[in-house]
Amino acid sequence: MSAIDDAGRRLRARRRRRDYLLFAAFAAPNFLFLLLFAYWPVVYNGYLSLTDWDMISPAKDFVGLGNYTDLLTDPDFRATLWTTVVFVVGIVAGGLVLGLATALLLNQRLRGRDVVRTLTFAPYVLSGAAVGTLWLFVFDPNYGLIRPLMAPLGLTAPAMMTDSKWALTGLVLVYLWKNIGFVAVVYLAGLQGLPREVYEAAALDGAGPWTRLRRITLPLLSPVTFFLLVTCTISTFQAFDVLAVMTGGGPGTSTSTLSWFIYDQGFRAFDAGRSAAGAMIMFVVLLLITAGQARYLERKVHYQ
């Protein structure tokens, strides 16, 4: 072992140590924020979910899994979960179908389609609070937009937001309006990447447009669909702003989704334990969905 080798190694080691330190320094701020405001809250929320605390008195009583058993045996909480499922499925499935239809339309060589694409995407970037306020006015049964639109059809405009038969539907419609542009643009990007030759060959085989859509377009777009399915499901589970502004979980409990429930129990009823337990349940559900996605992708990669 020569002295030169030794010196070189030491030099390299020192440089490496300097680089490690530099990495730590560069990455530290971001990691600090995430640890403090994303990871730590999971731990602390988990702890809160095991307590009974009214947020006024100093004492947090430890109740073990009491909040979870309470929730899972509570018919109202089960109703909340069911409402959440309907809400999510309505928005995600409706969004995918209508978004794809819009994308297919915008994929045609039509004059003005870029303008329309921009217009449909615009609602997606607007504040949910503002969109909710706007649609409250649109849905007003007396002075809103729906009354004159439904009158010619001989229909009376329902009180969308104060009728529990309609409120959830109304919310789904608003979220669809807000999200379809996003789905459409993602699909559009997918459509534009599809190989033309396959279609030409299929046309020669005499496949009609409907067959081509079912047999070629949809299968080729399936990775895009899958991406949209997962991202939309995750974000819809957490949808809050439009709902909070328009219905606040009501009337009755007809639009009380898990997302509203967590806020309502935590910051309105001040039942920290129930709120935290609800949040943990949401966390687990979303983790399962993500894990499902990962497994699907793995399988797909394998298959190919």
Partner: protein, 448 residues
């Protein structure tokens, strides 16, 4: 590689240590110790004064009335600047107060509803007024019945401000058009008979409805209906909302909404009254000024009366009072008490009633020229005063069990909008309320 380990370890330890430290801190919770004042600025001309923050629930007409009084107060003396901050509905304001106390930041004065103040009282968060305003002075100033509602264990925790009773409002113009008597109905059956005529009328192409129920906090009005049917939400700490009489009252309204289709639930019944979508409305006397103004603007005449009866007559009190938090420093409490004294001066209490319609909580106010004149000139403003002696305090469970009012109005919403049978809706609510009673009974009994 091995050289790098210490530094990496140190980095990870640091990264992991910071939140752990925060954890230890926040695990204690911030439910003790003095509180800071919420933000806000003092206008230049009032610089150097003690600032008093009042969290209010009054919007629109009453909001302006309270701001007027604060402005006068700020002009009239040199030591204190009152900063009125609107915080939304009674529920929202109380929520902000809880959250504020957790964060060590609370207003010096807070408007709390007849239901919400108990929550802070049971949480030992309120300061009795007695040390800042002499109990003798309190008794000499305020209406005895209303003052007593805020007294527990011989101390005053909650002072009357925007106290109210529900009134029966009706659109005299529509009543005349329908050819029914120009007065409030004696009984619900009489009202129901008139409604057949009234609901034939149309405004803006829509049939006029008999009445509308308030989406948020509608449990307050329905409590009276329950009493009129001989029921109640609770007797003492026993939940009775699922008993037959209360259920029958719920069924009455369900029938009006879903079978007769002459009533509905609204987010803003007072607005609907103003726009003549409904012909009658039961709502707080605090809406009187606003509805009067809307009537004037819309060119129709407003009438008021006592609530209709059914088996019996039943009417409650409600509205907001002032609470002060224990953790606010002493000087700020003293400043706050000064403003409360100012509000209780007969001329100011009179101005408040004139500009809003809320009950005159200070009896001497009724003798001040402004209010005395109005009471004589506009009979609508005297209805509430005449009705006050017939009121009774709200049912205990609704007032004292945290969130009970929300549970009840959520149940009512199901009846009004989902056509849920009253028995089903109320038995669900009752289950929840009984759970709440079990959970809080000890703390409630200790505090009463």
């Amino acid at each position: 590689m091995s050289h790098s380990l210490p530094s990496r370890r140190r980095f990870l330890a640091l990264a992991a240590g910071a939140p752990a430290a925060a954890a230890l801190l926040s695990a204690c919770g911030a439910t003790t110790g003095p509180v800071a004042q919420p933000g806000g600025s003092v206008p230049d001309r009032y610089a150097g004064r003690t600032r008093t923050v009042l969290w209010s629930t009054f919007a629109d007409v009453p909001g302006r009335a309270l701001q007027d009084l604060a402005d006068t107060f700020n002009r009239q003396q040199r030591d204190i600047y009152v900063d009125v901050q609107f915080q939304g509905t009674y529920d929202e304001c109380a929520q902000k107060a809880v959250v504020g106390l957790l964060a060590g930041q609370a207003p010096d004065l807070c408007v709390l509803s007849d239901v919400k103040w108990y929550r802070f009282y049971f949480g030992d968060a309120l300061e009795p007024w007695d040390e800042y305003i002499d109990p003798g002075e309190l008794r000499a100033t305020y209406n005895a019945r209303l003052l007593a509602e805020g007294r527990v264990k011989g101390r005053h925790w909650w002072l009357p401000l925007a106290r109210s009773t529900p009134l029966f409002y009706y659109n005299r113009t529509l009543f005349q058009k329908a050819g029914v008597p120009d007065r409030a109905p004696e009984t619900w059956e009489e009202m129901y008979g008139w409604a057949k005529e009234i609901t034939r009328l149309k405004t803006q192409g829509k049939r006029v409805a008999m009445e509308a129920y308030q989406k948020i906090d509608g449990d307050w009005q329905f409590q009276c209906t329950a009493w009129q049917w001989g029921g109640a939400y609770s007797r003492g700490m026993d939940v009775t909302i699922d008993h037959d009489a209360t259920v029958a009252a719920g069924e009455w309204q369900r029938k009006l909404v879903h079978k007769d289709r002459i009533a509905y639930m609204s987010t803003d019944p007072a607005g609907d009254m103003g726009n003549q979508l409904i012909a009658t409305l039961i709502t707080s006397t605090g809406g009187l000024r606003k509805i009067s103004e809307m009537a004037k603007a819309g060119g129709w005449e407003l009438g008021t009366g006592f609530l209709p009866r059914h088996k019996e007559f039943g009417v409650t009190t409600g509205g907001g009072g002032l609470g002060m938090f224990k953790r606010v420093p002493k000087e700020r409490k003293q400043a706050a008490a000064e403003f409360v004294r100012f509000l209780a001066r007969p001329e100011n209490a009179a101005q408040w009633t004139v500009q809003t319609g809320y009950l005159p909580v200070v009896p001497a106010a009724t003798k001040s020229p402004a209010l005395a004149g109005l009471l004589k000139k506009d009979p609508n403003f005297s209805t509430a005063v005449r009705q006050l002696p017939h009121t009774r305090k709200g049912d205990q469970v609704r007032m004292m069990v945290p969130n009970a009012n929300v549970q009840i109005y959520t149940g009512l919403q199901k009846i009004w909008t989902g056509n849920t049978p009253a028995r089903q809706a109320f038995s669900e609510v009752a289950t929840r309320l009984r759970k709440g009673v079990d959970r809080h009974r000890q703390s409630i009994e200790e505090h009463l």
